[in-house]
Amino acid sequence: MSEKAFIFIKIYVLKIILSKEQLALTIKRLANQILENHPRLQNTVIIGMQPRGILLSDRIVRELAQLVDPSTIQYGKLDITFYRDDVRKSLHIASNTDIPFSIENKEVVLVDDVLYTGRTIRAALDALLDYGRPSKVALCVLVDRRFSRELPIQPDYLGKAIDTIFSQRVTVLWNENEQNEQVMLLDN
């Protein structure tokens, strides 16, 4: 109990990056931008990154379903735990991978919530190749912590870019009924 209280005091919110209203608009914009480059989502698949990225991809797919025929949307979920380059540093718990279609020659839109060092996306590119050879892979993220990259990876669809330092954390609060949803910058 005392430990929990200690953590609560230690972490505090520096600022709100995206409010609830901004978040909803940003998701709508990202869905429209994806559609702009992939008309009617032809030959396109959406792949959300486990575990946090699928909360964003679920919402983007819901927006897309109002813009195109929902039956044409191919939507999968990818877990990259077994492809990490830091497995020996700490043990990560694997989540579900569910890609019930071939991605051979498809255009893949990878969706994740926060782009930071780029190592997760590197692992995701490795993992994707085990499902086939996509003709193209694009990256869609809600928040880009620019200047923190450790690999040459950039987003194609971006909610908002922010400047952060190492000790800070970006947290996206998702909510089933869309109450109190926001993106926050925290400091440890």
């Binding site: 492809y83 490795d126 085990d130």
Partner: protein, 308 residues
């Protein structure tokens, strides 16, 4: 979250959380095995030696496949074709192998406690692939995984372990695991093959009548009659055993309910199981073998990643 133990020597030392972690990780590895490329790079910097002092087909191949699917480097050692035949001790053999920079030892030995002995003397992590009549933890884990996959959950399940309980490491590991996970366990077989104080020691039910055992259970885990492990005749003939404890179609049909049939292999067809049962719709024997690779991948992944 990680395993509470450095080695996997037996189910006895695992916590419920450990077992749940292994089973849930195995679910993810099972998905990996359905992909076009059935391989992940997780253990590409790890070298594993399979140290088999006792014959094995299924377990050794299953472990080797699991290791290769995790991209580990694999060394195979079979006692029959090695310097062990020249009289080298177990500890010398293992220390020689470890000086070639091996990270993990998968070991089967006919002496109970051999991996426990090794764990005290070498720095590498050890996975027990069966030691004498003590434990065979990965078999129990894959049995549990297969039951869970077929029937939903382990808690509340009634499992009968049937056959040679006395000489079976599979029975021992299964009893520990199922009871930790909240299942009810019954052992059944001829009185000569069931240790006398087993119900006091393990809190399991004991039944000498096969039909009554089958009527009670949801799952029957049928063990192999281990002729090679018996120094004295404990039943008069295979035919007699088969008449009293062999499971056939007619017996299953007479139960008036569906039960799941499991067997750790290799089957003595016509002794403990008839072919129409082993190959029938209620049997999940080949699913057990398939799940074995995923479960062993999970064990190796979790043990290897615990080191630092």
């Amino acid at each position: 979250m990680k395993l509470s133990t450095k080695h996997l020597l037996g189910i006895k030392h695992l916590t419920t959380e450990d077992i749940q972690l292994i089973l849930s990780t195995a679910t993810q590895f099972k998905e990996v095995l359905q992909r076009p490329v059935k391989k992940v790079p997780s253990l590409r910097d790890i070298t594993i030696v399979n140290l088999f002092y006792e014959n094995s087909t299924r377990t050794r191949m299953s472990f080797e496949l699991a290791e290769r699917r995790l991209s580990a480097d694999v060394l195979n050692f079979a006692a029959s074709s090695s310097s062990a035949a020249k009289g080298e001790t177990l500890l010398d053999t293992v220390n020689n192998i470890l000086s070639m920079k091996v990270d993990l030892v998968v070991m089967r030995h006919s002496a109970s406690g051999a991996p426990h002995f090794l764990a005290k003397h070498i720095p590498a992590a050890i996975v027990n692939a069966g030691d004498g009549i003590n434990e065979h933890p990965t078999q129990a884990l894959l049995d549990a995984f297969s039951m869970q996959e077929k029937l939903g959950q382990l808690a509340g399940l009634k499992v009968a372990i049937i056959g040679d309980i006395m000489h079976s490491r599979v029975a021992m590991s299964n009893m520990y695991l199922l009871q930790k996970m909240g299942a009810e366990v019954m052992v059944a077989g001829p009185p000569t093959l069931i240790p006398k104080y087993i119900s006091e020691a393990f809190g399991v039910k004991v039944e000498y009548n096969l039909k009554k055992a089958l009527q009670w259970c949801d799952v029957a885990n049928v063990l192999r009659i281990q002729l090679e492990r018996q120094n004295q005749p404990l039943f008069s003939s295979l035919r007699e055993y088969s008449l009293a404890y062999g499971i056939n179609r007619r017996l299953l049909d007479s139960l008036g309910k569906e039960i799941v049939i499991m067997h750790p292999g290799p089957i003595n067809r016509g002794v403990e199981l008839d072919s129409d049962v082993a190959d029938g719709s209620s049997s999940i024997i080949l699913n057990q073998v398939e799940n074995g690779v995923a479960v062993r991948m999970a064990v190796l992944y979790l043990i290897a990643n615990r080191e630092n």
